[in-house]
Subunit: 411 residues, 2 copies
């Protein structure tokens, strides 16, 4: 169902205004979860939502629900849309923010045009999506859906040893509404792709049919420290040389499996002194695939090959599972509605998987859920250079609005 | 020429007594250069040297010369032997100390047996050999030989911002004798190997024919940060994958060149987050060879191969020279005398290069110089686990004494 035209210029201005909060000199944003900057961004959103006529509720986990009342009777389940406002330490202007402000733009447009939905609309800001400061990404939506106990989240610590529960309170992130108890008819999340596929294909709207499963494995490789000068090359047990083989192996194996990803993004060398052959390397291996069986197989192959190579080099090793999530399929009806809305507006459209985790992944367990992606420049995200065009931003917001109206109409 | 028998038990007891100064709970020693602990160790040495009948002179750079007078007329050039008493922050009981106390044991033995050399013997303690606190290793011997101006050394700062020149005075390291002006007939330095070669070969005495040259190059590899999930393997520009190739290349090339060493001991990943394809890696490449031409060739080959591989991967790179020293050959006559002394005592003996820098490297520019190595357990040094056997310590002292007598006899 085609609704009124979203105001792309207004949405773009709001994106740029939000980017001033925690702006970094390189054009990026730093609003790490549960910090004063995060709070400042959330305050701006709350003001805008109230100006748009929403009633704002914040739950004890810090999730914000800005409700645009429907014209239905009683407490009908709401149609929800949103994302997050927290960023990576070195983040950009679109990741998360676009999904929140596109949903707000839907409400603003409906208000401008005097359109009332039957169901209420909830514009949602989930707390701590990034998981960069506190090591539990999407902890806000996970608490909301019951996948994570709030008491458990409260015990998380950041690198400085600060406690999640204390920071929730100290920086005014937590509200007083209880967790959950807000039945949702559906949840939609708009987001930049964070990958290069739509841009490469010149596609405007990506309909996201699910989220890749992933596994994070910590691998510690044990060699023997030795002085770089007197120690002959023969017989060294260089942990970094073993790690180099692991990095190459993981990349090569993932290249041979369609839709697979393998990445070593984190690697620490000990003692990390230039004249000492490294005795120990710790690295994290990130493995992803949209199919559970293929993910299991990828993991088994990568681990077995790494163990073979490290053993041959006389190096010790230990694996530790840090985290993982199975692949998550999204709701077929929501995906179909997004695709129909995109095509009805004449936007190019394709279906794809999300390679990154999103709050929608937790919502999907409880509520009919789907996501839409718009292209981002060079596939870059989690970076000050993160960029999207005003045209794509506007198109994404329009498809989100049209789909919400269609789901409201069909309910 | 075989001299009287050195007292290995006395030498071992002196090593263990000196190890009490700045002893650490893990069995190591911490006497960082120009600290109160360094001073305390030097005071013990001065007392022992005076008890052995030496006249002690300390120069303005903090080098200690304990002279055992010869029976020759006038001020003949002295035969010198020694090393250093300062340690790494996390040092052991033998590095440096063995060379100083083996030289002192030579004097003690001569005194016990009423043997007078023709030339005076100088037992030398060089200031700040380690360069761990103040970033100029062997600064004492470099000042003595004129390779470093004392005024320049005085301006060095430690990590706390303390000035070398101030610490020399505050902790009573500097004496009042002028720099230099002490002609030396030869300089010998006994030391633990700090490498595994002698132990592997079951060799008691290593005759060190020179010191490897080395070059430290910083390499920054520039790729593009990307999210590990949504970014397909194809088309990534992963700086860590490039660094892995560099680590492997450097190792492989050094393995193919006799006596070459190539080590990547220091490597930092940016942003070093497990779900981000690394956009930048900084590493330090340590290249060593005892022959200047071979070192130049190794460096050219490693750099060219790395640049080829990085360019093919679409990665940017920049090199920066951090530091380097050319190879230093030792004196052939001194080496021959050491070898003859070892063989005369029936010790197994082999010639090898030093992979680490030593005060002898600076002395070699001004004076006929050589070193002898004894094995150390597992090649470990700069570590509390640093260890040598009483038998090897005693053998090293004996060879040092015999060689000093031979050089004195032949002069």
């Amino acid at each position: 169902m085609r609704g009124p035209a979203a105001d792309g210029d207004r949405l773009w201005r709001s994106l740029m205004d939000m980017a001033l909060v925690g702006a970094t000199p390189d054009g990026g944003c730093r609003r790490e979860a549960l910090t004063a900057e995060d709070r400042a961004g959330r305050d701006v959103f709350v003001r805008w939502a109230e100006e748009a006529g929403c009633d704002v509720t914040i739950d004890v986990a810090g999730n914000i629900f800005a409700r645009w009342a429907g014209d239905g009777e009683g407490a009908a389940p709401a149609l929800a849309a949103g994302s997050h406002l927290d960023t990576q330490p070195n983040g950009g202007r679109f990741d998360g923010v676009f999904g929140v402000l596109a949903a707000l733009e839907a409400v603003r447009t409906l208000r401008d045009h005097g359109v009332r939905t039957r169901a209420p609309l909830d514009v949602v800001v989930w707390a701590n999506e990034e998981g960069a400061r506190f090591p539990w990404s999407c902890s806000g939506s996970a608490c909301f859906t019951g996948a994570l106990a709030l008491d458990e989240a409260r015990e998380l610590r950041d690198a400085a040893g600060l406690r999640y529960g204390d920071e929730l309170v100290r920086n005014g992130i937590a509200g007083d509404a209880p967790l959950g108890g807000r039945p949702l008819a559906a949840y939609l999340e708009a987001h930049i792709e964070q990958g290069p596929v739509l841009e490469r294909h010149h596609t405007t709207i990506g309909v996201v049919t699910g989220i890749q499963g992933y596994r994070w494995w910590e691998l510690v490789i044990e060699g023997v420290d030795a002085h770089a000068g007197p120690t002959p090359m023969e017989g060294r047990r260089d942990a970094l040389l073993g790690a180099a083989a692991v990095v190459q192996l993981a990349n090569r194996l993932a290249l041979s499996v369609p839709n697979a990803r393998a990445t070593v993004g984190e690697l620490d060398v000990h003692p990390n002194a230039h004249s000492v052959v490294p005795g120990r390397v710790r690295l994290v291996l990130d493995l992803r695939h949209p199919d559970l069986e293929a993910l299991d197989h990828l993991q088994a192959t990568v681990r077995a090959e790494c163990e073979r190579v490290l053993s041959e080099a006389g190096l010790g090793f230990g694996w530790r599972s840090l985290y993982g999530r199975p692949p998550i399929p999204f709701d077929g009806r929501c995906c179909a509605a997004l695709e129909a809305a995109a095509r009805s507006r004449g936007y190019t459209c394709e279906r794809l998987y999300s390679g990154a985790g999103h709050d929608a992944g937790f919502l999907a367990a409880a509520t009919p859920t789907a996501m839409l992606f718009i292209p981002c420049e060079n596939g870059i995200s989690h970076n000050p250079a993160e960029s999207a065009t005003p045209e794509h931003v506007s198109a994404g917001a329009q498809v989100l609005l049209d789909t919400l109206l269609e789901l409201d109409h069909a309910s």
